[in-house]
């Protein structure tokens, strides 16, 4: 990946992430096809699209976890990875080993690890940041519980707390409200809203059109390529939805739009990044 050159149109102060002609492929399968996208700072953006549309891949590319085969990215004013400490990435829940022996507090503290530094122990400041993050998501009283003992909604709260504890400028959240109850969805979105008001940027993938329309300020519709990006009112445009979801959009007689889409599948399983993490189930 070449270092993105400073562009006259997008200034570092106003842009959280810029993708210019970015293509990402896993072997022969192209996940993102010549994507151009500019995400302004202060966005609360939902990335919407069907399974296999490249939602997770887009987040991973911005996080510096996958390298594009062509094109350039600029994230928080530098090439992907340079501003890693100012960025928090939360993977999909189904990619996490919930039997791992860590507690709620341990996970929130992981958000501080890059800031603490090698060989050092957490300071009072780190512990305060963790406590505050857990309080923000309403998980302080669960601090000592093992994560496997939590509900799906609580697990998402804990991972958001980990992101909050890092005090990032950019949140990259893969399906943060998928499969959680309504209360949790409201709570988590209120927390993200507050972060955006505080100047941070949030980019989250979601399957849930209703959630995207209600809670997010901006949307990006993708299907391998960017179909459209702009205010969340774009989701009212049936033609755009049809273009994004292909034949899976059903427009009901009353005018409601339904999308036939089997949720919960992550869209780039095979060779995205392989860590030797196999063997546990």
């Amino acid at each position: 990946m070449t270092l993105a050159t400073q562009d006259a149109g997008t200034s570092v102060e106003t842009t959280a992430a810029t993708l210019r002609d970015v293509t990402v492929a896993y072997g022969a399968r192209v996940a993102l096809d010549h994507v151009d996208l500019t995400i302004p700072r202060g966005s609360l953006m939902a990335v919407i699209g069907p399974n296999g549309a490249g939602k997770s891949t887009l987040l991973k590319a911005i996080a510096g976890l996958v390298e594009p085969v062509s094109g350039t990215l600029q994230v928080l004013g530098g090439p992907p990875g340079r501003e890693a400490r100012h960025l928090a990435y939360v993977p999909q829940a189904e990619l996490v080993d919930w039997s791992f022996p860590v507690t709620v507090g341990d996970i929130a503290m992981m958000g501080r690890v890059p800031l603490i530094g090698i060989g050092r122990s957490p300071t009072a400041e780190d512990r305060a940041a963790v406590r505050e993050a857990l309080a923000t998501v309403g998980m302080v009283e669960h601090e000592r519980r093992q994560i496997g003992a939590l509900s799906g909604g609580q697990r998402r709260r804990v991972f958001l707390a980990r992101a909050l504890a890092a005090h990032p400028d950019l949140f990259l959240l893969d399906e943060p409200v998928t499969g959680v109850d309504a209360t949790t969805e409201e709570d988590l979105m209120r927390v993200l809203e507050a972060q955006v008001e505080g100047g941070s940027t949030v980019i989250a993938s979601t399957h849930d059109l209703a959630a995207a329309a209600h809670h997010f300020h901006q949307v990006t519709l993708i299907n391998g390529r960017v179909v459209a990006t702009g205010p969340s009112s774009l989701l009212m445009d049936r033609d755009l939805l049809r273009e994004t979801y292909g034949g899976h959009v059903v427009v009901l007689p009353e005018g409601d739009t339904t999308i036939i889409d089997d949720a919960h599948h992550h869209d780039d399983a095979p060779a995205g990044e392989r860590h030797f993490h196999e063997g546990r189930g």
């Binding site: 991973k60 996080a63 510096g64 976890l65 990875g81 890693a84 400490r85 960025l87 928090a88 990435y89 939360v90 993977p91 990619l95 996490v96 080993d97 791992f100 022996p101 860590v102 507690t103 341990d106 996970i107 503290m109 992981m110 958000g111 690890v113 890059p114 603490i116 090698i118 060989g119 093992q146 496997g148 980990r162 890092a166 990259l172 990044e273 392989r274 860590h275 030797f276 993490h277 196999e278 063997g279 546990r280």
Partner: protein, 285 residues
Amino acid sequence: MSLLDLLLDPMRLGFMQRGLVAAVLVGIVCAVVGAFVVLRGLAFIGDAVSHAAFPGLVIAFLLGIPLYIGGAVAAVATALAIGWVARHGRLRFDTAVGVLFAGMFAFGIALFSSIDDYVADLFSYLLGNVLGITTQDIVQVAVLGGIVLCVVFLLRKEFLYASFDPSGAAASGLPVHWLDYLLLGLIGITIVVSIQTVGIILVVAMLVTPAATAELLVDRFWDLVRVAIAVAVVAAVVGLYVSYYLSIASGASIVLVETICFAIALVLSPKSGWFARRREVAARP
């Protein structure tokens, strides 16, 4: 003979004293590194690396250089090669590892069988002989094991984060791929220092069994490490006495005690044990 005599008698022998020190040291290092091996599902890699060390030992023997060095080079090189295959390989990962280590081991056996001379030394590496350990061996175990423990201690937070959520850790700036290679290298070194104690064939048990036992009993990572160390130390001491009084191979004896600890934990585990499940059944309305 009193119980105290039973305990003190073997320790009047120099080789038993050295064996005990070596077995405890090796047990501690294996337990700490083994916690990562168990949680990341690397047991098969541990087995592969230990077998792949064998041709290194034989070549070192043929060249007349210290066996440790040959074994260490082969083990660490194999561990890193496995890491590379995991990231870049086109084959199924476990298939690639299976082919690699069986081939390396066969190469070692082929070389070994071509040696006409007396090679009890090499045999002790296959089956382990902690009672044949010299003071110089103990110094090597202590130095190499100490280095491994220091590295794990310095990178304790980073290793834990990268093990639990590699993508989250990488996105936040941790060099996850390098941490992975480093962990594999540490596993390689740990295996080499353990081989003389329990032998190539059983060394994977030293890595896996104490941590697997601990995982059944506690649910925080550093508690798991502490319990694994305790299991390993108890097994080293008890195993060595059992070996002395029943005249059985010391490596096998230590591993059997660890296995018994695991079986007990399996029954008593508050998380998944037999009693826990009975309690669950009883609590059901």
